[in-house]
Symmetry: D2
Amino acid sequence: MQLGLIGLGKMGGNMRERLRRAGHTVVGYDRNAEISDVSSLTELVGKLEAPRAVWVMVPAGAATQSVIDELGELLQPGDTVIDGGNSRWSDDEKHAAELGAKGIGFVDAGVSGGVWGLENGYALMVGGEKEHVDRLQPIFQSLKPEGPYGYVHAGKVGAGHFAKMVHNGIEYAMMQAYAEGWELLEKVDSVDNVREVFRSWQEGTVIRSWLLDLAVNALDEDQHLEKLRGYAEDSGEGRWTVEAAIDNAVPLPAITASLFARFASRQEDSPQMKMIAALRNQFGGHAVESAKK
Amino acid sequence: MQLGLIGLGKMGGNMRERLRRAGHTVVGYDRNAEISDVSSLTELVGKLEAPRAVWVMVPAGAATQSVIDELGELLQPGDTVIDGGNSRWSDDEKHAAELGAKGIGFVDAGVSGGVWGLENGYALMVGGEKEHVDRLQPIFQSLKPEGPYGYVHAGKVGAGHFAKMVHNGIEYAMMQAYAEGWELLEKVDSVDNVREVFRSWQEGTVIRSWLLDLAVNALDEDQHLEKLRGYAEDSGEGRWTVEAAIDNAVPLPAITASLFARFASRQEDSPQMKMIAALRNQFGGHAVESAKK
Amino acid sequence: MQLGLIGLGKMGGNMRERLRRAGHTVVGYDRNAEISDVSSLTELVGKLEAPRAVWVMVPAGAATQSVIDELGELLQPGDTVIDGGNSRWSDDEKHAAELGAKGIGFVDAGVSGGVWGLENGYALMVGGEKEHVDRLQPIFQSLKPEGPYGYVHAGKVGAGHFAKMVHNGIEYAMMQAYAEGWELLEKVDSVDNVREVFRSWQEGTVIRSWLLDLAVNALDEDQHLEKLRGYAEDSGEGRWTVEAAIDNAVPLPAITASLFARFASRQEDSPQMKMIAALRNQFGGHAVESAKK
Amino acid sequence: MQLGLIGLGKMGGNMRERLRRAGHTVVGYDRNAEISDVSSLTELVGKLEAPRAVWVMVPAGAATQSVIDELGELLQPGDTVIDGGNSRWSDDEKHAAELGAKGIGFVDAGVSGGVWGLENGYALMVGGEKEHVDRLQPIFQSLKPEGPYGYVHAGKVGAGHFAKMVHNGIEYAMMQAYAEGWELLEKVDSVDNVREVFRSWQEGTVIRSWLLDLAVNALDEDQHLEKLRGYAEDSGEGRWTVEAAIDNAVPLPAITASLFARFASRQEDSPQMKMIAALRNQFGGHAVESAKK
């Protein structure tokens, strides 16, 4: 089928390619004219036959809002917008209402797959009304991995991004699990070869997983990760997962610990541990270390 | 090759079967005469040709110590004992020294595989001196899964159980990760079908894993887990992982949170939260709830 | 000086009393006519001479918003509104802007003191512009405890509630600290009398505090807290503290753990631990417990 | 009464002084001859009349064991040894049994007070049999602070050190509570003067405490703690508290988080966060930072 696709970065560009390989007609737009198929959203909309489907794949927040506002002006009743970016689920209801007032459908799609998606397919978690979701099946079925898994209509508008957000929260804690285990194994003398321990775990164990495979890849490139700094960004979904948990009074100790470990990894020095050092000095006369210059 | 195997429970019994299918001669002993091949350890040792290999697969602690003591009396220099139970790594050095004084070799083997091991093979993490480990390769290669993974000689005596212990620590946090995500998804209204979300994650996502497959199996049996009580035992390795981390000053926030969540799950009422309730009442006059009778 | 005081509940009623004892003229309003001095906000405003000061002491959220909206209609340029309730700091800027557009000043005041405030005074953390804060000094000085402490002009609008919010976050973790220690002491056999241990800590230790004194009071009333259920509410500030930490990428492991412990205390059964139990059963055949009927 | 006192460091030296001011006869021994009253333990024992009381105040572990072994040779039935060092509670039973076999009594005493103890007194948590503890009352009453608090006979042998250990565990989490709150306040723009917020909390709040007073002292010396590195040692009791919790299946999330924060503060770079960075790079192509040279 025909699809407009806005945002042709690392994710969007590969999705265009995967859809074209599957026989779809994709009209892509990007601010970077070199990779764009059209020179404007107006041109993009003009090239699609009604009822149109336009997939938005731009950074969450202001950029997504701006594109959706513009599409609200350009599209017609019966058209559908899909937000496949990393939007916060709470933005989806607002976008659905804004577009819905003009008769335009809205579907939110959480997309997983990263740099491996072009070849392996993208896992899709979709939220929205059945009529809108059903019409987009040809697109979803081509983007998703082969086989029975990798696609779900998770629920109402927002459910797709919510499910993807929780996916990422789980991802944080799984990564933290392997990372903690790796650090402990590296620390003790009796274990000679931590990389080979990780490699062996890839079959027959309870903890075998794709992330474990990736960990082995990383250790094959740099056995003790000596070239890397222990510095980890977080991309929003981890924070939102904890916020959603707080809103719902759900305890998430492992996921939250994983998020906080990333926060701490980005601090040159820890303010809170300065206070601990200061207090120990006050009551016990314990030595302190001077801040580095 | 010939192997003596002591302990024919859920794990040991299936290991005997897997080894026999591979053509090995296994002489099994169990206190339960109905499943035992011999009536005593003396008989077991008598049926094996020197140099013997005897695999101990009994509960960690006193039971394992008792069997190893007895084998120390029965075996001869050149024989080898393998402890494949869930022993604490710190016991291994002691056992190796006790047996080594008599010229008997010692190898520790962490074994993963659970009820799936008979068909899929058992992941093995082995510690010990090269000469002892090498001699046992026919056994290890038959127990392990097919393919390139599932076996590692992790290091010195104790390294096998240490690696298995860390495996279980990682397992705790991975299970906790899925469990936290599942609870949050079940709590919100917008997501209709959490089971199908989990199912969809089995391909194309960052968090696909064998544990995820098992979670889907469990949800297929009982979609909202309504038949289960939220009560989880812990088996020792999680505790030892945290203790090893403390010994080595390694922070393990996610693994430890997972262990503590299990502790809390087994309390009918939380003593510490009684104190919180009491303090809130003291300073704020906040209402308290009475203990259940 | 003259003060209008809206909301005469547990906190507001005692504050009116403390201010009157100090010689101030307080015109109090409450929806409950039996304790109210006037029958309407209009009457309250009419009884105060310009420039007026009106202290709002009603539940955070909709109730506070409604009163501030109404005051915006009734007050005149030069008057000042103080929000002394448990409002979220992020509401303060909005309220200051709404009132400021009409020339009405706004000050936010975090108030601590609970049921002890009438006699001991209320600790005040105040945010707002210097001119507004300075004019209210007679009120602040009468509400605060005697002595050099218990009052701070913490910063701009919002800073008062932010400081009070962090105070409560710290409070959560301090309470959790004592609660954890108490549970551990109660669990071991060698310690005969945990209450007397707590009592002894009230002098000469690093952990002496007012909360410790309250814990001893509570244990004097119920030595093992047997009458209480381990069930603890949370009042918003703890959640907001964690959310503010997430916004600012500050790791708060102890405060967050304390909040999550309260969430868990309110669950009849733990959904996440059902999933842990289900997974253990899947891979290890471990027994599960049935949900209670 | 007469007391032998072994170990005249920061704690022991001041305790000798406090006891002498109270009129006791203290014979002190230290390896440092300049501060020692006698030249050997033999001489120390010879200067005391039977039944003797000898207080051991040396580092926990090997040093304490060595002194207790030597005292076991030098003392007579009816004498009593007090271990006032930071010994692990689990050592106490062993020491009591060793000395008890020779008719020598054993009492364990957890001592709090740090550099403030000489003037304010030392809080004492004591374990042992009533007959031994009672005989030492003149010493305990002189060491403890004035007033009704600061001393407890907590229970059997080991209970004193156990109570002191838990005291320190609580101390860790209380310090962490203030430290987390301080970092968050320092991070936000609206709060101008965090030091003054802390100062104001010293009266009328729920979180007033001696540790808070010390925090204000520290901030008066260095308002933003800029001279300090965020580096905190831990002294054993925090670790033992977590280990005791694990032995007893008691969840201690806040205390453990506090211990782990200290571990992390001492790492130049975080190995586990290297693994997180490596995994993010593997699946998402996310940029990594190079290790510092």
